[in-house]
Symmetry: C2
Subunit: 210 residues, 2 copies
């Protein structure tokens, strides 16, 4: 099993933290996204969508998309449980993880990819053809980040973790999202005490260094 | 168990088809998205994100997000299997379903929500505050739809279904995506014979009428 990875990108980090929580160590192959290596023929032969992370199994099967990769790992190595134990907890963790992705990571990605010069003509991840940045979409992304942080702080005022009372994949996604948002100066607002408390706790876990 | 539903919207239809494939019949509560009823206090008390579908369990637990709802149903009613049987098939179906969502449904949603007059100031689903349509994002969405259809036809030239050789949640997502795209005159290109063959087969299933 080996992981096509990119050290500085937020999505592959989600898988790395997931692996560390499971105490699994696998081979990593570094792909440089800033240099556009994910859009060159060598990597497109591995994943035609040009996206990292991608997991390659020993039988050659390729799995992309963070949560699909984590699903495979969770099924093969069930403990510690990161995606729920029964129908209800699995569904609620999946729902909360999607809130982080849709309301948080997607808004951050819109704000980031539509503003930084290096991606001015590559405004969508994994798309080979020229795609121009849209300044209004960067603004829309920033408004989304504000909503995401407000909702997260409210949720964490009554829950220990992002999906209830147990650490889960949703915390991993949110931690990577928050650290990603710092790139565009959108760290957790200082006054969001509940999110600050949560962030301190999850950042103190050994896995966060992945 | 009851479902907050909207007859004409593509995402709740994915859950309705999933339920029909499982031969389950549950209570439905209709919410009118065009009239903005999903953004009014009564529904926001059910789901603060203002999104449909939302599933309410008999114990009052609320689950939103299509795939999280389907996960709950799949776990409670495993047959017929729609989300995989082992680690590899679960991961591959999840990956393919996400391709449909990210490359297909998201592009279609960008093209639709940023062009139709009724959503000119409500360009993101579920967001209460005014969000103006972005014409360039509509164009970007249309380019994404073209890429999605090209990749789908290529995949279906060597696979019977959207995620391999078995009907799955990925077919349900893709069927609803294709029928949604017809609203903005982006039906399957006539020359895409493999996608046409697949579409005829999945549309002929009784569940497609949900």
């Amino acid at each position: 099993m080996r992981l096509y990875d990119c050290k500085e990108a937020p999505n592959p980090r989600r898988v790395r933290i997931f692996l560390k929580e499971k105490r699994l160590s696998i081979e990593h192959i570094e792909i440089n996204i800033r240099a556009g290596d994910n859009l060159k023929p060598a990597f497109l032969a591995v994943n035609p969508r040009g996206l990292i992370p991608t997991l390659e199994l020993d039988d050659g099967t390729l799995i992309d998309e963070v949560v699909a990769i984590c699903r495979y790992i969770e099924e093969m190595h069930p403990t510690p449980v990161l995606m729920g134990t029964d129908a209800k907890s699995k569904a609620l963790i999946e729902s909360r993880n999607r809130h982080v992705e849709i309301d948080g990571i997607n808004a951050m990605t819109d704000a980031f990819r539509n503003s930084v010069p290096i991606f001015a003509k590559r405004a969508i991840q994994g798309v080979v053809e020229e795609t121009l940045a849209i300044p209004e979409l960067c603004q829309r992304g920033h408004a989304g980040i504000t909503r995401f942080y407000d909702a997260l702080n409210k949720y964490l005022s009554t829950h220990e973790f992002v999906a209830g009372s147990q650490f889960s994949i949703a915390d991993i996604s949110a931690l990577c999202a928050v650290d990603f948002a710092a790139w565009i100066k959108r760290s957790i607002p200082e006054e969001h005490e509940h999110t600050q408390r949560w962030y301190a706790a999850v950042s103190a876990r050994e896995s966060s260094r992945a």
